[in-house]
Symmetry: C2
Subunit: 351 residues, 2 copies
């Protein structure tokens, strides 16, 4: 690894959820993909944009996506940035808004990519362990001088949620930059977007991968003070989001009816899964996302994950303290949930 620099050498590799090549043989409830297809209008809009104009560079400012989101959320386009998935936005935040000598902090357990991206940009960080109730105690982020705090809200993998009032209270005492990753916010609402007009030190990020069923398209948003957005525009690659992803995102935002239907179906299936799991004796952490974080008193979580994998059902198991006690199960279609619950029932019978 002769040409790797010290940053690349010292970083850990991020391991995304398994994507088996024989995907169609599996029920895949391990990466929080939405079980329902994207809206027909989105697919139509993308297809309509597959034209000779693909020879041209896309709109580097993503003007239409920003205008639509701004109008729908009663903010200005100058407060919105469009990224190649919210992953790219986190990378840009680490590159542009914290010094190499700075210190970041995230709760633990949370989205493991924050660790990887911080390492990949040479940023030091601390992980603040949650207590046994698996909620984030924001006060702990005030105990030391952190330049940046990132929270996922709802949190991944726990599904737990912090109220906007609580975040607002935190901001009144916090001098660094707070990043609120709202990849899962659409399922049950409660966004902190409104705080950007009041505080210049909050960046809210969004994703089209979950609630819009567009993980394959790679679109994410950052919503923040105009100076932050200017910085993101300055440091990003010129053409970071492709023309078809922009077309899809525009149509997705405009088709509010499909969006709401998708969300209501998802919530319906989540409630059904929670009921079934409860009735089988699972302990379920209250989730406001499209997944549940759960454990059963009579089966080890890693064993449950492995036995389900043998049945061609993928759920997510994370090693490490606290989280290894649980499994994370993404919400699937009703048929997938029923098959999962049958398989779990059989496994429980055997223990």
């Amino acid at each position: 690894m002769k040409f790797w620099n010290s940053t690349l050498r010292s970083m850990d590799e991020y391991i995304p959820g398994e994507q088996p090549s024989n995907l169609d043989e599996y029920i895949k409830l391990n990466t929080n993909e939405n079980p329902f297809p994207p809206s027909e209008k989105v697919m139509k809009a993308i297809i309509e944009n597959v034209t000779p104009n693909l020879r041209r560079y896309p709109d580097s400012k993503a003007s239409r996506v920003r205008a639509i989101f701004a109008e729908q959320n009663n903010i200005s386009p100058e407060n919105i940035f469009v990224g190649n998935g919210s992953d790219e936005i986190f990378t840009l935040i680490f590159r542009g808004f914290i010094e190499k000598t700075g210190l970041a902090a995230f709760p633990y357990p949370s989205y493991a990519l924050y660790d990887t991206l911080a390492q990949g940009n040479g940023i030091k960080f601390k992980k603040i362990a949650m207590d046994k109730s698996l909620t984030v105690d924001m006060d702990k982020f005030l105990e030391e001088k952190y330049d940046m705090v990132i929270i996922a809200n709802p949190n991944n993998p726990t599904g737990t949620y912090i109220s906007t009032a609580r975040i607002k209270h935190f901001l009144t005492n916090f001098k660094g930059l707070l990043v609120v990753d709202e990849a899962y916010i659409d399922f049950y609402g409660g966004s902190a977007i409104g705080l950007i007009n009041e505080y210049d030190n909050i960046i809210v990020t969004r994703s089209f991968s979950k609630s819009y069923s567009l993980a394959g398209l790679r679109v994410g948003l950052a919503i923040a003070n105009g100076d932050i957005i200017k910085g993101l525009l300055k440091i990003k690659d010129s053409y970071n989001v492709d023309a078809l992803a922009l077309a899809g995102a525009e149509a997705a935002l405009l088709d509010t009816r499909s969006f709401e239907y998708n969300i209501s179906m998802l919530r319906n299936n989540k409630e059904y899964l929670e009921e079934r799991l409860s009735s089988m004796g699972f302990e379920i952490i209250p989730s406001r996302a499209n997944f549940v974080f759960t454990k059963h008193p009579s089966i080890d979580s890693k064993m449950l994950y492995e036995k389900l994998k043998e049945e061609k059902i993928l759920i997510r198991y994370f090693s490490g303290p606290i989280q290894s006690e649980y499994v994370r199960i993404s919400i699937g279609t009703m048929m997938e949930i029923k098959k999962l619950c049958q398989a779990i029932a059989s496994i429980l019978e055997g223990v």
Copy 2:
């Protein structure tokens, strides 16, 4: 700009070529976009991939694109990386393969994005001025200890080319990392890809934006030693290229017939433009790309650019030493070239 870090504060903004919002009113010969549409098979392949599966994450390893390119070029998939345009690849190279204390070098004039990206990643660099013949003297990159040298080959904006033999000779004396940006290589051939088997310190990059008419799709490749590729895979965002871009790139590589036809049309139009410009008294730098770098003894280049813009024809003018003497004209369709030449003839009559 309270939260901007020192890197973001000190970098210059990259100014891409003008993309007027009333695009259709212009003949646009300023950003080296291919004037011909992408292959029908590519458009069909993309449309076929607009399915409910867009709800799923794309293949994070881009396995099929790598397999196809590997087979066509008689190298291994382990030597190939797929990026969100070659722009992303340059960013990743700056992030992973040079220390913050390192020194990079590029020729001048060359692709201005290298400067921006180096600055945006806190990397110091020197620009080595070309002589009046506008060719790169590689020996100048041996006069100081550079950790990384980036050359565009053919060079942008000059169109000049360095032979593989010359690059090979350079590598026998150079201990740093050489990046050869082959965004324009397909038009006249002469790639340095073959050197990756012999030297572990060369990265060749490619783009689908020019020769494949897919600037709107954002796909680029890096070809290098397996250790370099492993590093790029480690430091990239998990899902950096979206599912439709991957589908388009696969189809583009496979449709060699359309590719060759596109290239031959482009060369034909380029030769025609060169003849017409010559006959009007222009001096033309020998170009192996889809643009020409040219100047006229009796009209200032900036004035020519401005007068053509009044006629709704966009060509590229760069300020700065040497290059401000010239304009860069991307090769258009035959109709666009004829209109351009008519407009130039009128302008020359007036001076």
